[in-house]
Symmetry: C2
Subunit: 261 residues, 2 copies
Amino acid sequence: MSVERVSWRNAESSFDRDDVAVEEPLELRLNGKAISVTLRTPGDDEALALGFLWGEGILTRRAELISVEQVAENAVNAQVAAAVLERGGWQRNFYATSSCGVCGKASLSMIRAPGGVVAAASPLRPEMLLPLPAKARAAQEIFARTGGLHAAAWVDPEGEIRCLREDVGRHNAVDKVVGRALLDGSLPLGGQLLFVSGRAGFELVQKAIAAGFAALLAVGAPSSLAVSLAQERGLGLAGFLRADGMNVYAHPERFGLRGGA
Amino acid sequence: MSVERVSWRNAESSFDRDDVAVEEPLELRLNGKAISVTLRTPGDDEALALGFLWGEGILTRRAELISVEQVAENAVNAQVAAAVLERGGWQRNFYATSSCGVCGKASLSMIRAPGGVVAAASPLRPEMLLPLPAKARAAQEIFARTGGLHAAAWVDPEGEIRCLREDVGRHNAVDKVVGRALLDGSLPLGGQLLFVSGRAGFELVQKAIAAGFAALLAVGAPSSLAVSLAQERGLGLAGFLRADGMNVYAHPERFGLRGGA
């Protein structure tokens, strides 16, 4: 999906377009009943639904599947034998997600839950943000040993890391940072920045907004849904943060940059 | 956490130890009632619990929190004001996870759900697996444009990719591959291999076992729980797959390699 962006490299801004990975919710229905919502890249949705049912042990034999059908752009229904429903497991009312921001939202319409207000940031100088990936890497003790951890950090408007946490789950690393701020009495984190070592998907944008951050900075790529939610809710969103620059996908003014024409 | 491994580089095996990121389930309780299980890296668990409750909009003010306490090694209880419970949201019975393999498992004891039997692989020659990251990258059309996608692939014992799928969620990419095999009548995938472009956590091992794969090959690092589940259930597990070799953390015989002393 093509989106507008401000590419800021070597202190020069350019305005162009960028392709981002498409992320959209998919509702999974079992014999007509919605049992799960996952954030996925559209395509091969019937296979996704069946693979999920198989992995969860709900569907255990090919013969139990009567049919599978894309019943709407973002909904798939799997029709299965009565024996599957009788065996149970599907009533767990679980929710699949690429992390955990949409857990428990029972329908697609509930996914964009209200979050906290994004407070205005102090005027930032974007140059101050460029050393962040290197600073975060230096602070990541466990990653250095294992290569297996995501990091999230609360960063102040001067670009200093105030709190960094690591976890195997990127949403957990963010939750640890936000929860620590709650314990310290610092929530909401108006005017502050959230840094993540990986990609920026919908749930991280949602968590950033809920905590009141002014902007989300990612080393990796954003998803389409992350870009649209950040644009809509006033969150600054930057990806591909490197020592020489970054790409800004939403609200460049949050980083002290001018927007497009 | 330190684990044994077979490091196989430039056609030479060595037996040594490696640090892997610790992944363990955490049960989150709200006023004594279990409402969520997440796979996380232990540490700052109280903050994790509070950040999760905040991000989900269950806890909205600091004053609503009465106390938060680690009540067991892998369980945290948050005691909140009656008003929070009355407001609702927490009854959604949701399940947080770094992907979706533990969704809906209502207690820690259910996490290691039974999966399919891992069938014996044809004798593999590990050299055949080395080109996989390059082959997968060449086949990843969307990643090439966006830098934002995970890939999963069904690979046959000759090292050929039989089916590759991309998704913003790594577990979705695996579900798409497994679901496609179900539709094609190829499940269970005994003797076949599962390749993933990222890290290998618990849920991917669980999904690989459920689909009957003989081994899981990852470009990234494995987690501690992934290693122990693979060892226990007979799944071959390799990480850091590169053009010159890989590290094998469980069942090296699945890759045609000898185990340690």
